[in-house]
Structure formats: structure tokens, C-alpha cells
Assembly symmetry: C2
Homo-oligomer: 383 residues x 2
Amino acid sequence: MSPPLQSEPTLPDDAGHREASVKRASKGITVTMRDVAKASGFSPATVSIVLNNAPLAQYIAPATKKRIEEAARKLGYRPNAMARFLRSKRTHSVGVMLIDITDPFCTPILRGIENSLYQASYVPILADAHNQKNRFERALEMLLERHVEALIVVANWSFVDIHLLADFNKRNIPVTTIGWDLPGDTTSSVMVDNEAGGRLALEHLYKLGHRKIAFIRGPKMLIDSVPRWKGIQKFANSVNYEIDQNLVMQLPESLDPNSGFDGGFRLTEELLQKRKKFTALMAFDDLTALGAIRALTKAGLKVPEHCSVAGFDDVALSAMSAPSLTTVRQPLETMGNLAVNAVLEGINASQEKRDWTISHQKTSPELVIRESTRAVSLSSSDD
Amino acid sequence: MSPPLQSEPTLPDDAGHREASVKRASKGITVTMRDVAKASGFSPATVSIVLNNAPLAQYIAPATKKRIEEAARKLGYRPNAMARFLRSKRTHSVGVMLIDITDPFCTPILRGIENSLYQASYVPILADAHNQKNRFERALEMLLERHVEALIVVANWSFVDIHLLADFNKRNIPVTTIGWDLPGDTTSSVMVDNEAGGRLALEHLYKLGHRKIAFIRGPKMLIDSVPRWKGIQKFANSVNYEIDQNLVMQLPESLDPNSGFDGGFRLTEELLQKRKKFTALMAFDDLTALGAIRALTKAGLKVPEHCSVAGFDDVALSAMSAPSLTTVRQPLETMGNLAVNAVLEGINASQEKRDWTISHQKTSPELVIRESTRAVSLSSSDD
DNA sequence: CAGGCCGCTTAAAACGATTCAATAAAGGAC
DNA sequence: GTCCTTTATTGAATCGTTTTAAGCGGCCTG
């Protein structure tokens, strides 16, 4: 080590010193970069370069680096994010807008997002739109003020007009939506392949021998409803199975993502009243399926003995319900990860002043077979 | 209005002008306060005072205010939060640390937190500790760097050592925990009154006539376990009901908040193997109860016909499971609100350089009677 | 020995707001 | 006419970083 410029003993960071510095920090005096500069005997510029391992750091003498790093550690220096951001224009934060956080669908996605952001040293700023336009708007406003570097919208069950995202495009802030697809080339998206999912579910029921299958379709306005149904139809066509329109119901529009349960319950009761026999029921999502099961049970029908039921999503509770639910799993956590990757790519590109590609990713659904479906029984198949 | 200093026509903000300004903003040029100053013909200082309605604003001429506000609106001025925070030392953000986000318990709490913060114009910065100490630590570090004004820890199912919060106290940053109680006067807390809850549940079963009641207690390390059990014991004592220790099981320690389901399943199977008859089972929480129901069902026992089951928490799925779960509801969303109130009070106090009171709030649980419990039947009560 | 280069370090100017002390004009009192 | 108040506004310092261009010895080279 070079000659001691300070009166600091050359002892390898003894406990006494560390104690002292802790005490100093505890006084509430915020340790600034200047303090580290003074303590180490170098200038703030050098300190910044070393601590950030900036390009210029390659020219800094190793001994210098060591001294600075040690000083920083001793003083318990923590860079002030605000100051840094002001200068560098980078907040290292990403807005995460949940259309409605109460949807159990959101939880795994959120974990995926948080996790990927954490790996990349980004921080999520959360906003919950309560499925209301004005909240959505004001929350966006707040995120813009905070200069989030990107935005992820978890638009699971959404009737919110998402065209409000224009401001983000204007400012070149990358946006990715999950579970919603804004056509065009302004916004990336991550969605499950709904068509494949619909197909998987029906294929499963069909292979179990079911030929009298009831359907509860999703609300018209929900973007998932159409492709999911299309997948069902395509499979039906491919095996020459004719869907009985009398057994097709549709959930009403609703702002509440948990309304599927009630909807499934009521629509199933309606189905039962029709006295049109069915041996299986395919629901729009898991909550709807649970509602359906409830209605069936109430009517004295056992699942799966008298009627198989399949859901969609594989939310956490599907594995725990009784009977556990056969369903089409969306890789939710992965979708969170993918969305983060997409925005990070956007951020990097935007940093380097180049365009980034808008991607519309589709993830593969996976059939999860549990207890709520089984092969059609002899007693119920004849009618 | 005073004589037109600028060449701006006195037309009441015509569409043409607004159009133009939009265009300007859309060029990606960030509108700064200086721009507003120039456009309005006043100095940045005045602009700041007006736009923030600072104390000095009382001396500003109404006409001036109007001109400045109009200019700001026209230019689409949005204050730069980072710059503001650097100077004013206020970030208007609160760290929200979730010990494990996958716990369905968290969702309503999170909604409560977000909502209350939103009302107060604060923003939540989310962190998920995955129930791991090192993640907890690093996340705290990130929150400190970002100078969050307060911290809320949702410590539902936690084996993390929470004493890491010391840094926050040193810096006078208010901390409130939800579902965890750090004794002493450094950290506020919001918890459900577990003792009352335990009492409510047992009282319910007892009044239904159950006298052979099995219990699945929570893991030892979980702070809720003890008072919940105490409430049970107290009620038992008060009615001279003797708890059969052979019917008392305890969940093992586990880092996974969703492990209660498996645990409940296994322990219930163990109970059944004992061939010791019971007509009701009281589970530590809802997931445990669902696991228990599954085990009972598997053994051919019907719930509630052969055995009543009660849970605790009232997470979202409890209402949707079959049979729906009788449980003790925690007012989760409210608890989120309360935690926010607590930290806001702390922030205000800290701002005014006065001490704030550390509160340990207990919220009242509420018995929610659903299908999984019913009066003891004659067939099962005699043994 | 002038000039260039190398290796290491730093002075100083941002970044975009807030805020204090200062100023200026206008009126009122003496 | 001077001084004080009140009203209205602003210059300039400041917050804690990052970053650019420059500085400074000393060594090498022609």
C-alpha cells in the first residue's frame, strides 16, 4: 500500500474502526460520496468512477480502488439513488400496473415479474387500477412523474381502455402487457396461446369419451374468450364433433375478476334446468369451473362421477379444491419473466438510441389432469 | 389580465395552441420548469412556488398564478420527481416487503396497502423476500438506497429474522409489520387478535355440540400459533371442556406458506389412523383446513356430515371450495390500511422532527359460518 | 530537448427542482 | 423627503451524483 496519507493505522480493518463508523452512521448523518472522497483522500470523481466500475475505472490504480472501496465500506456509504437518477436519467425502476390485484391470476405473475426485475437490479413500482379508468390514468401519471424506465401491465381481466398508454410511446418508454394484446407495433405482449389451450381441454374431455359437453364461454369483451373458443371449435371440427349450441353458455360482462365463480354457478344451474343431459363441462376459467362444480353438487350430481369439469388457468386454489381441478395451466410466473425480459430489451435499446422490436409472445399452455375429470361412465353416457 | 408581455394572443386557450403544445411534448423534449418559466414570463422560483402552492404563494398575484398554471398545462409540464426528491429529501414512496408473495393471504393486504398509499399520493415499491434471509437483506438495501420514507413488512408466514430492520430505526424511518409483532418500541405492528380468533372458532364448534374435537396447531415458530392456541385453551377452560391431547397435532416448520395444505392432509391422515374418533377438526389456517378436508374425503368421511372443519384467515378460496369453509376472517384489507396509517403518522412526525408513537394494533377477527361445519349428528356423536 | 503519449486523477459543469435571503415597487405615516 | 411595511418576485445556492474534458508528471522518441 502507498504511504499513509491519512493518520489511519494500517491495521486490516480492525473492529474498533468499524464500530466507530457504525456509530457515525447511526447519528443520522447521511454518508455522501464526498465523505468517502475525503476519507480515502481522493476526489469525488474518482470515487464515483471506482464505485460504479465505470469505463474509466480501467485506468485507476488498483491500490486506489482498494482504498476507496474500503473507505466506502467503513463509512457505510450508500449511494443516493435520487441524485444518481437525476444525473444519469436512469431510475432503475419499472412500473407494474395491475388492472385488478384481487385476481388470483396475478399473484404468480407478480412473483415472476418481481423476481426477474430483482435479478436485473430493477425495482417494481406497483399500481392497482381497480379496473377503473380514472385510477388507471392517474396511476400512469404518477409512474411517468417517477420516470419509470418501462411499464408492465397485467391486464388479466380488463375492460379498461388501454389506449391510454400513448404517452409512454411518445416518450419512448417500453411497454409490455400480460394477458392482453394491443394490436399494432407500439406495445409488446405476453399471452398464453389460448387457442392451443382451448384445444387441449376439449381434446382431453373428448378422449375421455365425452360427447355431451357443455361450455361456459368467457365474457365477450375479454380478449381471451375468442381464441379459446376458436381452439375448441377447431378441435371439434377436426374430429367431427358437433357442439350442441344448447349447451353453450356465456359469462356476462363484469368488472370483477372473481365474478366467474358466481357466473359459473348460475349458468350451470341454467344448464341443468334445461334438462339437456351433459357428461362434461368446460369452463372459461378455474373460478367458473369451481362455480359450476358447486352448482352440480347442489343439484346432487357428483364431480367427476356424474359430470367431468375442466377449468383454465391453474390458479393456486385449483390444486386444493375438492375435487381438485383438471385445468389448462398458464405458465404465469414464466409470463412475468418474459414480460420483464421484453421491457429490459426495450430499455437497453432505448438507452443505446436504437429501436427495439415489439414482440407478441405466446406461451404454451399445459394440460393438468386432476380429479375433476374422468372417463365417461356407462351409466351417464347412455341417455 | 396585465399587459401582454409575450406576443401571446389573449384568446382563452384556443384549440390551436393546445395542439401545438402537444406536438412539442411529443417530440420527446422533456418539459422542465425552466420552460414553463420562460413560457409564462416568470422565473423558475415563482413557478415552483405557484405550482407547489408553497407558503410564499400567498403573496403571488392571482394573475401571475393563472398565467403560470396555464403555461404549465399547455406545455404538458410534469415535475421531475427525482429532482424534486433530491432537493426536498422526500421521495413519497414506501417500501412494501412481502416475506412471501405466493401466500394468498398477501393479496388483500396488498390491495389495502396500495389503496391507502394511493389516497395519500404515495407509491409502493415492492419487494418479495421469498422467505430468504439474503433476499430480505438485499431488498432492504435497495429500499434504503431509494430512500423510501417508510417500510411495511407483510410477514405472514415468516421464519426470516426480522431484526435486520435496525438500519431503518437508525435512520428514523418508520416501520410497520403486518402479521408479525416485533416486541419493543421500535416497530409498529398490525395483527389480528389471534386469541380472540381461536376462541371464536372453538366456541362455534362447541356450540354446535362437538365434544370430540381434533386440532392442528400452527408451526411452533410462527408467531400466530401460540396466541391462537391460547384462545382455544381459554375457551375450553371456561366451559370445562377438556382438550384431548391425542387429538392435537402440530404442523412442522416449513418455509412455504402454502405448505399448510400438505401438512393438513398428512396430519389428518395420522389422526384418522389413530382410530380415535373426532367429530370436528379445527385447523391452523384455511389451507390446512382444505388439506384436512381432502384427507377426510379420501378416507370416505363427508364434511360436514361426518366431521366439521373450521379454518382460519378467510383467504379468497375459502368461499369457493367445496364445501365452502367455515373460518375466522382476518380483516386483511383493513390491516393493510391500518399499516399505511401507522407509517404515514410516522412519516409526518419524522418530518416535523418529533417522535411518533409505536403502536401495536390488534384487529378483530370475525367468524364466517359456511358449509364445512354443522351441528354434531346423532350418528357420529355416540361412539 | 521539444513534443507526444501514457497512466492516473480531478475540476467543474451539469441534472431539475426547492428555498432563503434579497430586492423592488408601492403605498402610508411622520 | 425619509423610513417602514406590505406585496410580489427573483438570484443564487443547494441537494448528491455523473461525466467530460482537461491536468499533470514522467518517460519515450526522434
